[in-house]
């Protein structure tokens, strides 16, 4: 990250608890904003906003952006960034799409179709692994800034997709794949289940696995982590591999939803994923962040977009509001931190009293 200048006093972070979600100020703030947004939209469009259709729209639209945001969150936690997520997802989708459409004819027996689907999934997985290892290796072993590396891999991966397809779209998949994007299971969309599964896996990895702890430590202070005996290089490779694997899952959802794959899908999501992660309380300098915060920020963005859509506003206005929401969230966090500092710092009289009670030896 570029070194930005904070005016004095030095940046003070609010206390971050890992025990109980509600004590995390970011979670409370996002929860409050969601309630406020939902209340406003319910008041403005009572019959339409509070309906099953709205919930279903939110549930079907969130997973794609959500899984991609998780793919952005993991490198952010390590103090990096992955600009190549969309390009990676598109290339994975194209590889899988090419295999599915070439090897499956209308007359293919079901067993072979199943085998081809497994083959396609594996090919997509290998593609993601390859891109992730390349990115991670350059970041870790050459020490290049992640923005630069992923700028390069983004151009390279997208270039590969464009060259391979000449800008065309590959479409027409078997129903099993389409089910991932459009099907429901007990009324819950399969894609939403995939998002929740990915979120749970990432949350467990980041907060409980040794790898996740190393990632957060690297985000806080890479050199100190290395000196304390963590193989930071390999952890960084792992960060970008995990990010790319999440892109592969996102690729599956995207393929299924559009019933096609192309080099240029979802490009506008790239910067939105960064917004969603930072709005969700992920520290862009690395080290701090919770998956729950990310999910809440996604829900907030989705509620705003669905509500505005119902009120008949242009999608561009929604995007503008997303930008303002981001700035507002930064402002609220800043004011909150300043307030906490004032609240937690004892007044001169108090500190004098403390001194007399506990005299320094």
């Amino acid at each position: 990250m570029p070194s930005d200048i904070a005016p004095s006093p030095a940046k003070v972070s609010a206390p971050r608890s890992t025990s109980f979600p509600l004590s995390d100020p970011t979670i409370t703030m996002l929860g409050g904003l969601i309630v406020v947004a939902a209340a406003i939209f319910s008041a403005l469009a009572p019959s339409r906003f509070l309906s099953g259709d709205t919930l279903r729209a939110i549930a079907f639209q969130m997973p794609e952006l959500g899984i991609l945001s998780l793919a952005m969150m993991v490198p952010l936690m390590s103090g990096g960034l992955n600009l190549a997520i969309i390009a990676t997802a598109n290339l994975c989708a194209l590889v899988m799409a090419a295999i599915l459409t070439h090897l499956i004819q209308p007359s293919t027996p079901p067993l072979i179709i199943a085998a081809v689907i497994v083959l396609a999934l594996l090919a997509g997985l290998v593609t993601a692994l390859g891109i992730g290892s390349l990115t991670g290796a350059i970041v870790a072993f050459f020490g290049v800034h992640p923005i630069l590396v992923t700028l390069g891999t983004m151009t390279l991966v997208k270039g590969t997709s464009v060259l391979a397809t000449s800008g065309t779209v590959i479409g027409g998949f078997p129903p099993a794949i389409l089910f991932l994007g459009n099907g429901s299971f007990f009324g819950i969309p399969v894609s939403l289940m995939l998002l929740i599964l990915c979120a749970a896996v990432v949350a467990v990895i980041l907060s409980h696995a040794p790898f996740g702890v190393s990632v957060r430590l690297i985000g806080s202070n890479e050199r100190a982590t290395r000196y304390s005996g963590v193989a930071t290089e390999w952890v960084l490779v792992g960060v970008y591999v995990l990010s790319s694997l999440l892109c592969w899952v996102a690729a599956l959802v995207m393929m299924a939803r559009f019933n096609s794959a192309s080099a240029g899908y979802a490009e506008s999501y790239l910067l939105v994923t960064i917004l969603a992660a930072v709005l969700g309380g992920v520290d862009p300098f690395g080290g701090f962040g919770r998956v729950l915060g990310l999910l809440l920020s996604l829900l907030l963005l989705q509620v705003i977009s669905t509500g505005f859509n119902l009120l008949g506003f242009s999608p561009y206005l929604t995007a503008a509001i997303w930008g303002i929401t981001m700035i507002l969230a930064i402002l609220i966090a800043l004011l909150r931190d300043q307030w906490l500092v004032r609240f937690l710092r004892p007044s001169p009289a108090e500190s004098a009293a403390l001194q007399t009670r506990n005299p320094e030896p």
Partner: protein, 322 residues
């Protein structure tokens, strides 16, 4: 003399310059149409808009920040100026002054948000980019402006140097002058190199940041006008989405994302590298679909090589110290 050469070989812009020369020779041998004056005029004209934007972005990178919003600023200023020119008329002076004013103001907003919200520049400029561009699309509904005044679209080349190339040259020379001769330029290097030290030296941090981001917005808006002159129309979404291409060119030219490092000569060479590569490949009959692949490989190779040399030099200097 040998000492001078030895030091020159390790300089980033000399290395990039050598690569550009090698490529010129390579493409010159393979394709007869490459080393012609006409081709070079075309090449420079095509990349002049990018060069003007790169000049502005370079200043922000040196100051230790990053600007993602400049293409959105260019699109907004382009649209505002074109609307005013179509409705009230004007001349080139009015066009450039208005564009500069709009661009610098929108850029300064970035700096104020970054300073007073103590936020990281990537996040703030992504937010403002989203905001500026969405509002533009909301207001225009994506409609283009075609009825630009005749004086605006007429050919202005002088001694067969195209007008965009002249503007780009002025922009680059101005940036060079500010960065190397003016106090504010040196202070911006100081700010990027060590913000704390710059603050204790008495630099006005918020003023410097306003200048850097304002300058980036200013140059972007000028580039927007030049682009509208080139293509003879204003399309709201024509410029957006190329932020990272310009960033790639400036970074190829040796500017560091950590701040404090970067030169105008390097930036020019970074753009030339991309321009010569793409132009040469086109003349060789390579499909334009392969540009992304080639550009990606060049970026990865360049940044890896730079970082690897830096790492090795650091290790060597530590060994010397021991």
């Amino acid at each position: 003399m040998r000492d001078f050469l030895g030091r020159a070989v390790h300089r980033h812009d000399v290395q990039i310059g050598a690569i550009v020369l090698l490529m010129l020779a390579f493409f010159g041998m393979l394709s007869p149409g490459f080393l012609t004056l006409g081709n070079f005029a075309d090449l420079l004209e095509t990349y002049s808009v990018m060069a003007i934007m790169a000049a502005g972005l370079l200043v922000v990178l040196i100051s230790g920040g990053i600007d993602i919003s400049f293409e959105a600023i260019a699109a907004v200023s382009q649209f505002l100026v074109a609307t005013i020119l179509v409705r009230f008329g004007g001349n080139w002076f009015v066009a450039f002054s208005l564009a500069g004013l709009f661009g610098a103001s929108l850029g300064a907003v970035n700096a104020l948000l970054i300073y007073y919200l103590r936020a990281i520049s990537v996040i703030v400029t992504i937010s403002t980019m989203t905001f500026y561009f969405s509002i533009l699309m909301f207001v225009t509904q994506g409609r283009s402006i075609y009825n630009l005044p005749n004086w605006f679209t007429s050919d202005l080349s002088f001694l067969s140097v195209p007008f965009p190339v002249m503007v780009a040259a002025v922009a680059l020379v101005l940036t060079l002058f500010i960065l190397s001769r003016l106090t504010i330029g040196r202070q911006i290097y100081g700010l990027g190199g060590n913000p704390e030290a710059a603050k204790r030296m008495g630099c006005n941090i918020v003023g410097l940041q306003c200048f850097a981001y304002g300058y980036s917005g200013f140059m972007a808006a000028i580039a927007g006008i030049v682009q509208a002159h080139r293509v003879e129309e204003v399309v709201p979404y024509a410029l957006i989405g190329r932020e990272l291409d310009v960033l790639a060119a400036v970074v190829l030219g040796g500017a560091s994302l950590a701040g404090g490092i970067g030169t105008v000569s390097g930036t020019v060479l970074g753009i030339l590298l991309l321009a010569v590569l793409q132009n040469g490949l086109t003349l060789l009959g390579v499909s334009s679909y392969s540009f992304g692949l080639v550009t990606g490989v060049v970026i990865l190779a360049s940044v890896s090589a730079t970082a690897y040399t830096a790492k090795r030099q650091r290790k060597r200097s530590i060994r010397h110290a021991i």
